[in-house]
């Protein structure tokens, strides 16, 4: 079970069929973290509208 962000990224890369070396993963990690933070913003911004439509 991947526990660190680096391990999660490596696992996601494998699942997507990418050939990522350890160096690739290390290079991608900062951008991956920025990406996750931005997606989290989108989820938070969309949340109230989702609740309106519930049920």
């Amino acid at each position: 079970m991947p526990v660190t962000e680096r391990e999660r990224l490596a696992a996601a890369g494998r699942a997507a069929g990418l050939r990522l070396s350890a160096d690739d993963v290390a290079a991608l990690l900062p951008a991956w973290k920025r990406y996750l933070a931005l997606v989290e913003q989108l989820r938070a911004a969309a949340a109230p509208e989702d609740a309106d439509g519930a049920g």
Binding site: L9, A12, G13, A16, G17, L18, R19, L20, D24, A27, L28, A31, W32, Y35, L38, V39, Q41, L42, R43, A45, A46, E49
Partner: protein
């Protein structure tokens, strides 16, 4: 200076007029540009030089002109970004993967230029696969800003902007997925127009993000952009812009967090452009569009997913055939989940609705094209009081919202900051290029020398 030397640096409209009146020779003009390109090879504006093929086209144009034939662009040399397919001419898309691709047909936009009589004058350098805004191309050379070769021209249509500003062609064709026409226009100091989504057909144009891609002109003047827009779109917005009244138009100057981090010298020029429009009889006021704070995330998710879908096979089978930055973007894009993409499209609808509401109260939105002037080649971050921002993110922060919404947006040079060009962005309602161009003309007239 020989007349053809001066003409070669003149606005495209003037070049087309001189050629049609047979006051200048297309062959002499083409030879002049070719000499200049050879002298400016260090700027890395071109991937494929115009060469003998363009000279043959110029000779053909000269024969047609001597027979009294007419054509809006007959004999006018237009540089074409190397992601538009050109029949029987290499089209690399700035990549190693497609370095030997020779298309069997012209892209629709190229076909329209040719139908108007234009000469396809070489294929210009771009960021690899148009996926970036530096034009630091690992396969075809690092493009340089003609104002200061230590600095970036921006991208991805960097070669097209260089060719226009350095006087290496009469005008150029570019594409814009997050700002790729307007960013290099702003950093190099020329006009760049991204029209309404779909206004110029994209058949035969190598895609980057299907729902974000636009084609458009880069030129020395706003009227030049209008002329090329009319040829490329088959419409008449450029012609209408030249006689449109602008008095009383409602202009909103964008305020709010998205324009908080702008270099002071850039902000001063945008304020000066707004003041100039007020003097010319337009009604200018501040506007806020809070939904724009989501555009960075929405654009990122949308583009990452769309570009990676296109490159799905190659990024898995031949990752080393990409440059490092593009490879990383495509690999990250392969990890974008379907739910995240859907979420981004829902946010996109909200941003579009917000823009639609704002445009009930204004006719034109005014803002900087880029919050910074041309960065030094290789510079990675911009420092603001509030923290650091990646240079590539900063460069598209104010342009990408109009790829998401498809609104027409024009970058017009207006003055300088620390000796480097500043671009002011003029945005209009969907399909209202005529008013965008008309206001752009005023800004051009009022620009400091």
């Amino acid at each position: 200076m020989a007349p053809v030397e001066a003409l070669a640096s003149a606005p495209l409209v003037q070049i087309a007029r001189s050629l049609s009146r047979r006051q200048a020779s297309p062959v002499e003009l083409a030879d002049t540009y070719t000499r200049r390109i050879e002298a400016a090879v260090g700027l890395r504006a071109y991937i494929t030089l115009p060469g003998e093929r363009a000279r043959r086209e110029a000779k053909r144009a000269e024969r047609r002109l001597s027979r009294g034939e007419i054509g809006t662009l007959l004999g006018v040399p237009i540089a074409v970004k190397d992601l538009f397919a050109t029949r029987a001419q290499r089209t690399t898309v700035g990549s190693r993967l497609l370095r030997d691709w020779v298309p069997s047909r012209d892209a629709d936009a190229v076909a329209r230029l040719r139908a108007a009589g234009a000469i396809v004058f070489g294929k210009t350098n771009l960021h690899e696969f148009a996926y970036g805004v530096s034009t630091a191309n690992p396969w075809w050379g690092v493009a340089r800003n003609p104002h200061d070769p230590r600095r970036s021209p921006g991208g991805s249509s960097g070669g097209s902007a260089i060719a226009v500003v350095a006087g290496l062609c009469a005008g150029a064709l570019g594409s814009d997925t997050g700002g790729s026409i307007r960013v290099p226009a702003s950093l190099c100091g020329c006009v760049g127009l991204k029209p309404t989504f779909g206004a110029i057909p994209l058949g035969g144009t190598f895609p980057l993000g299907w729902s974000l891609d636009h084609a458009g002109p880069l030129t020395r003047t706003v009227d030049d952009a209008g002329l090329l827009l009319d040829v490329l779109s088959g419409g008449d917005a450029g012609r209408r812009a030249r006689r449109a009244s602008t008095r009383g138009l409602r202009v909103g100057v964008l305020q709010g967090p998205i324009v908080q981090n702008v270099q002071p010298g850039v902000a001063r020029q945008v304020d000066a452009a707004a003041a100039a429009l007020r003097r010319r009889g337009l009604r200018v006021r501040d506007v806020q569009i809070p939904e724009m704070e989501w555009t960075v995330a929405t654009q990122l998710v949308t583009l990452r997913a769309e570009a990676s879908a296109l490159h799905a096979r190659w990024i898995r089978s031949r990752p080393s055939a990409y440059g490092a930055d593009v490879r990383a973007r495509l690999q990250l894009g392969a990890l974008v989940g379907g739910a995240d993409y859907v979420l981004a499209q829902r946010m996109r609808d909200r941003i579009r609705a917000a823009m639609s509401r704002v445009f009930r109260e204004i006719d034109i939105l005014l803002l900087p094209t880029t919050p910074i002037t041309a960065p030094v080649v290789g510079e990675r971050t911009v420092r603001w009081r509030s923290g650091e921002e990646p240079v590539d993110g900063a460069l598209v922060r104010l342009t990408a919202p109009f790829n998401l919404t498809g609104l027409p947006a024009l970058s017009v040079p207006f003055g300088a900051a620390a000796g480097l060009p500043v671009g002011v962005q003029v945005v209009g309602q969907w399909n209202d290029e005529a008013r965008v161009l008309a206001v752009g003309r005023l800004i051009e007239e009022e620009a400091p020398p």
